[in-house]
Symmetry: D2
């Protein structure tokens, strides 16, 4: 039984509290800490089997009984708390992205060197039943040599404009999941990115200097070409699809819906919309990612999404931003050189 | 090149004129005859390449140049014209059913004996790309030993009540196609029929002594159980599906629609309705059935739907009617004994 | 928080232990009792949060702290333990069927009279996301007046022959779920049953006097005709589909699979098989049915599947058996008169 | 009745002979001319109702009875024969592309000025039932403002390397159809193209200086971003899909297959592959495009794919090639300025 502390009891923190208490057998949440912890949240956490709640996250860092820390606080705190936790000898599960600043990610990488601590980044989609099935098919050779990889990733609604302003931009906030997915499905890194971006959903997003719609082309190391299409708003819900086309076949996955019910009438044949958003679509995946983290700790395995897997999509996001700004293809190596990675 | 005469230029006659002129290479329509032939229809037939039109079908029967006759006139004339054509040495394609009266079908069977004339009955669905694919799968052993056979067959709208009254009832008029399909898919005959029928669509149909909705269970010779569900009215169009479930798998087909277009919006994921009715769904099948008839003539083959295939579904329809009236399972052999078949 | 005791720690008992501990918020399992309780099972139950285990179920019946009993023992004990639990003032959730013997079900009904105790029968499929969606569509008028109801229900493999012999036969053991589903979807009772049954899967089942394949037609009170097709073995897994066709449309549901992954290659376009069996398909439904039972207790509501809903499918199953034996349609009222219901 | 002459009796010429003789009511093929016309082809053409065949295409140009010419000869002859036909006062249907050389297309445009001759370019996919349905949905406002347009277009096998060398490259030979489709679906022109291309299918194609795999991003005038993915070889057949995602919904179409048959067994749920190639997929579309051309002539309408619709995809193809060579986004206006369009 691994004792964990959870730092941050916002939306994603509560997701992990729920999924650990219902889906993860070998983990026990000792403490949940959040500076803005409400009494309601504290009571709810207790009802979910959390032993202790606090407004002070250092209670977790300093607790010798706690083996592992889940960092679910705001993005700007991910890397500093990662460092504190690592220095305190804790295993770390950190929500994505580790940081917008590559320097800070490099500090986390350095801090991990020479330790046997496990570090996992929260790219939950790798644990989704659909994406997992595509990855398995690719890894099993069912598509042959990958040639074209396509990812559709559209949110049902844009975040608030205040969030957009601190989000690091769509590429580091939203597309970062798709950058990770491209690496996961291709089984290799990207070498170049080209972005065609637009502001079509909400003018305020454009005024904040960000895009809300984009088609992003990537050259992959294995020769495949990948393309991601993103939009901050799809009226029909969360659109999360992938396709890998290769020399001997194609593997593709679509969306999940609440049921397979189809109504046929004089208007046509109508099935249900995709599940609304990430809480609906990925609840099982959140449980499985923490399960894998706990398994890595208990059985001294490599985490399935390690600190380098946390760095790479940030480099891709920075390259994407540069491509958008300079309206040209940008090599990942340009960013690596710039950031001395 | 086989010269054909078409007797009857109503809806189904015009279907055959169209399909022969556009889809059948080795047939040439010499004459179309219909006592009620309008000038418009005659002109249209000419434009389709028909050489000659007439109001007198004996012009076809007596024309030594004509090799084959397509009987597309009203049901009560099918067997007498069959006899005349056979006696005149013509090959015959006869629309279903040959007759409601088994005695008259027996006369046609007798007339064919000792001749080398081809006789084909118009069970067009056997030539539909979907049903053909299921039959091929079954024949190729892909489902193993058939255990359950299911046919859904629903019309988009009931025929006029005047037609209902002379139609021989739903079992001989509509279900007869499904009885043929059950034999085609099972590769054997039925031994028993049980009908659960109802009058749910239009009270006038019930007043005319007929049903408009039914679930019909059949015991097949090979051990499989078959079930047909029929309705005279499906608001969404012509519903024509089949499924064969067996010891090593299941083969199933659905409906065709005008396109594969799917609209996804806040109401759901909506595809197109099935094609409206038999003209839309089976136009290619009509061409293929005549192509097979012409091929049987030219290459002296057995027709794929012979006169016995025309008799059997009539026996099944009579058994179904008796089952409905007496509310009990009825063996096909009861009807055979009664009719001395 | 409702305190429950679970009697029986076999397969279905363990399902309920799992689902309550992971999916049901307001229930706490105080005791699990099973005469054959192994140490492993006891340890596992403890790990799932069960307070206490025992080999003696009367510890549950006699425990004043326990509000509700889940009867998950063998079928022959369902009604006697129901009576004991009711007399001890416990709410009861009883696995299906309450009993094969109508007299014993009537005793349970009598025992409940005048109490305010909740009694729920384990027809879990009503809580499945797919079937629920069809029922909601029907109840919302989306299909209009139901005309044809179709249920496909096939198991991936037959039970052991020893179980078959004590199971009460396929109609009371397997079809009973489908009888309940027909009532749930139609929103009314059946009045008559006709069975076409066969022994196609395993000769030993036939030697034990049972069928393994059947097509069952039902006349429903609301005029609709229902048809169930059953088989004890489908090589592709658990086949659980339903369709309601009515005057203004059709609602249908298919199977669930592990993922939406589709592989397209030179062999075709291949998706995944249905989920293997009831544990895979209905785990969420098991949680929801207990959630509904707990909700009925806490909020003094009618249970969604009450004791009469437990009786009716038994009557249908007895009628089905009689229909099979006497090879004729059997009215439910015949059975009701026979059993004095 | 419009009298047509067909120049070129290769694969696409024979497609038009077949589709006119079976699907187009108001056209009569007077002459088919091909310098390499074999006796077999001539005999076949006669059997399809062609009045006359010749090795000399000027017999068509100079025949005063012929109203319209279909140019189905090799690409390098499209524009010169177009000019001859226009000067002879014939309506012209010209296979794509009009020419690889913009100058020559401009000559055709000039030649048409001041005449009332109809000129149509062979972008047959606009007449495909699926793509038509998407275009109608977009035009009817069902997706709202288009935001992302996706086209998948993959051939089942690459052309011979000799053809590749004279084809003008993949962008002018294969992608040109997709460039037209993007304009058709978006309802506007593209302003910029970016290509990520690769040689993954056959090294000989790369040695010939061409790509065989590409992802092509386009900025559209209406703000939408379009993306085309191309490959010269898909092992599963001809992959022709499209999707338009907009502010109120998404319209998408998939492939057609020979039947809707699905086999479910222990390996999964397997449907048929897409139809093999363009002859199988687009036969109906070829008939409809010629029908529309004939209709434009008979009713003095604008052709649905006019000479400017022939020019624009060539400009897009040239921009795509330049983008590939210079590895940067290229504006269509760059090409227009260069070519003085």
């Amino acid at each position: 039984m691994v004792k964990v502390g959870i730092i941050g009891a916002g939306r994603i923190g509560r997701v992990h509290i729920t999924s650990i208490s219902t889906r993860v057998r070998d983990a026990q949440i000792k403490t949940v800490a959040d500076p803005f912890l409400s009494e309601e949240t504290a009571a709810w956490a207790k009802s979910m089997g959390v032993e202790h709640t606090s407004k002070d996250y250092t209670e977790i860092i300093n607790d010798p009984e706690i083996d592992a820390v889940l960092i679910c606080s705001s993005t700007d705190t991910h890397s500093p708390i990662s460092l504190e936790a690592i220095r305190a000898g804790k295993h770390v599960f950190c929500e994505k992205p580790i940081d917008h600043d590559v320097e800070k990610i490099k500090e986390v990488i350095s801090a991990l060197e020479g330790t046997n601590l496990k570090y996992q980044v929260g790219f939950n989609r790798r644990f989704d039943h659909n994406f997992e099935a595509v990855q398995r098919a690719v890894a099993a050779g069912k598509v042959g040599r990958p040639q074209i990889i396509k990812i559709t990733s559209r949110d049902p609604e844009p975040p608030g404009i205040d969030y957009v302003k601190v989000s690091g931009g769509m590429f580091l906030d939203m597309t970062i999941h798709d950058f990770d997915m491209v690496r996961f499905l291709a089984g290799c890194d990207a070498t170049e990115v080209y972005v065609q971006g637009a502001n079509l959903v909400d003018p305020a997003i454009g005024e904040a200097g960000d895009v809300d719609t984009a088609v992003i082309t990537l050259q992959m190391e294995n020769g495949a070409i990948a393309v991601i299409d993103n939009c901050r708003k799809a009226v029909y819900g969360y659109d999360q699809r992938a396709e890998v086309f290769g020399s001997v076949g194609m593997a593709a996955v679509g969306n999940d819906s609440q049921s397979s019910a189809v109504i046929t009438n004089s208007d046509g044949v109508t099935g249900e919309k995709p599940l609304f958003f990430f809480l609906e679509r990925y609840m099982d995946a959140y449980g499985k990612e923490i399960g894998a983290f706990i398994d890595a700790i208990e059985n001294n395995k490599e985490t399935p999404v390690n600190v380098m897997d946390g760095l790479k999509p940030v480099l891709m996001g920075l390259a994407a931003r540069k491509s958008y700004e300079e309206h040209r293809p940008v090599k990942i190596s340009e960013i690596e050189e710039e950031k001395n990675v």
